[in-house]
Amino acid sequence: MADYKMHLLVCGGTGCKASESEQIRDNLLAEVENHDLTDEVQVVMTGCFGFCEKGPIVKVLPDNTFYVQVKPEDAVTIVEEHLVKGRQVNHLLYRDPENDKPVSDSKHMDFYKKQVRIALRNCGFINPENIDEYIARDGYAALAKCLSEQTPQEVIDEIKRSGQRGRGGGGFPTGLKWEITSKSVADQKYVVCNADEGDPGAFMDRSILEGDPHSVIEAMAICGYCTGSSKGLVYIRAEYPLAIQRLKTAITQAREYGLLGEKIFGTPFCFDITLRYGAGAFVCGEETALIHSMEGLRGEPTFKPPFPSESGYLGKPTTVNNVETLASIPVIINKGAGFFSSIGTEKSKGTKVFALAGKINNVGLIEVPMGTTLREVIFDIGGGIKGGKKFKAVQTGGPSGGCLTNSFLDTPIDYDNLISAGSMMGSGGMIVMDEDDCMVSIAKFYLEFTLDESCGKCTPCRIGNKRLFEMLDKITKGLGNEEDLTRLRTLCKVIKDTSLCGLGQTSPNPILSTLDNFFDEYLAHVRDHKCPAGQCKSLVKYTINNDKCTGCTLCFRNCPVGAITGEKRSPHYIDNSICIKCGVCYDKCKFDAVSVS
């Protein structure tokens, strides 16, 4: 049996594979064999290191040497120098960008890791159904510290100093929100956790509730202490059964330990939490609509002011915070406002969780400091675009956000930068698009979503969005003209200016940002009646090339609508008035005779 003393880890992430990391692995294996080390050294491929910029990466265990930008021919040097002679290969070591000194041990080069986990600190680490594991990781210590050592105002000041802003999307300062509720005078106040996560492709809140429910419970209790509320409510969508179950388990355990209920930690403070289920309406993520839904009324927004902090649930002062916002609170208390505010940019502090989705290699849940660039997120952590295709745009902020193009890749991500770039932070969904995506269709997709989710209360949103959708539909069918583009833009502005709540005020954003960034693509649809990405079916035309067609009849036999005619062994023909552009003929043809235009 082999008893390996050393391991060579070769990055097998897509980015590194594209730069020949498989060849590196093979060369290393061959060299290891040449030197008769096969029983002592094992070579393995790993997943992505999240540092594709410096790939391909080879890491040596147990000494943690981290080689970057390795080429296949470097395999000889690594084996001869490092493995045989025990000397590190200097020129392949990662150099600290600050002082250009090589870093020999990757344990000291954590900075290459672009992710910092604060809200996700316990996700994937503790058993979410065991309160003891949470307590072992300093759980409920923040609550204990607040109750026994600090006044509510002191805690609020700490949160204010941390610079934390609401992670639900709006970016309102958390400390200020708490302060307003704490100053409102009422016989009863409420703390509400907004777990109505509705953006397509977003799953940050679900993951936190499923992986670390106690952090949210603890933060709600802290908020209760600060604002003078004894009742907490979690508004969670019924589509999240596992999150609900884990939250329930966590609440029961916290009650058994006396961390929820009467006289918590032997102080006069009482606090308890109940759950409220939403039916999954997007608009109920808006705080006034959410409150109405909890009151048993229709989930429709109302005009602000009055803000919920003054008059919310049942007319009482109510603090509404997003899941991710709450999950970071215990860290701010335990580690201090200074720790939190040392991370991030001038106006956006701390970290943000993003759900990476779309045409990206490492689809996943990530947490990065504010100020990380889109390029780092997409190309390093995300491992780049699937199938080696070209990056086209990234959609942030869900249906209320916009599409950001190449030119924004180096923009540091924070609340204000994203807004000036024509998008928004939103709750943290990030959908990456490649060259095959049609931006008009993308805008139409998001609009269809808001159209479904509009509550119908105000006219601009109810009817305006419908008209926008019709116009987009027309354009994708090749029936639009250039005037439509002007009308589209005008109507977008009217809806933005006149809608009642955030849903309507932001619903035209995907259209406006694609109009701004991809005007050519809109023009191609209305002027030339062409879809450059080949996505809009009505604009696509399938034809058979007479020279290549052998008359094998395969397309004829597979066409579901009988649009193809032709004799055996002679060229076939597609009748475009019947064709439904399903593409079966294109997929089936063995002679490459069917072309798409």
Partner: protein
């Protein structure tokens, strides 16, 4: 369950828990105990994490390997679900992605029993806030 009535109670419980975990890591039997965490969020479960967890428990028992298999939340590697984290006694934890039954068997056979690595481990690409 005893109620926690003061900060001291909480500290005691925390230290007790940490000691328990430490004992699990360095106690008498430590050289034999393998710890496995299975990422069990909705997405992990949808990709088959539950079956893998049961399979791991059954297989480990068959091989008479003393192990603690527990569930945890999302590790963030959605592109490689189901994911599991294996900690061998005295070693750093290692995360394996795309764990189907075949790979689970391979991990037990190669990594847990013979201490060989297998392809497709996922390097930790994030910093934690501990320390």
């Amino acid at each position: 369950m005893n109620k926690i009535k003061s900060l001291d109670d909480l500290r005691q419980l925390r230290e007790g828990m940490q000691a328990k975990i430490k004992l699990r890591e360095s106690g008498d039997n430590a050289e034999n105990i393998v710890r496995i965490k299975v990422a069990m969020s909705t997405c992990g479960i949808a990709s088959g994490a539950k079956e893998i967890m049961t399979y791991l428990m059954d297989e480990l028992e068959q091989h008479s390997i003393e192990a603690v298999v527990s569930q945890t939340g999302c590790m963030g590697y959605c592109f490689a679900e189901p994911t599991i984290e294996v900690t061998l006694p005295g070693k750093d934890p290692i995360v394996f992605g795309d764990v189907d039954k075949y790979r689970a068997a391979e991990i037990i056979e190669k990594y847990i029993i013979h201490n060989e690595l297998v392809d497709g481990i996922l390097p930790a690409n994030y910093r934690t806030i501990d320390n």
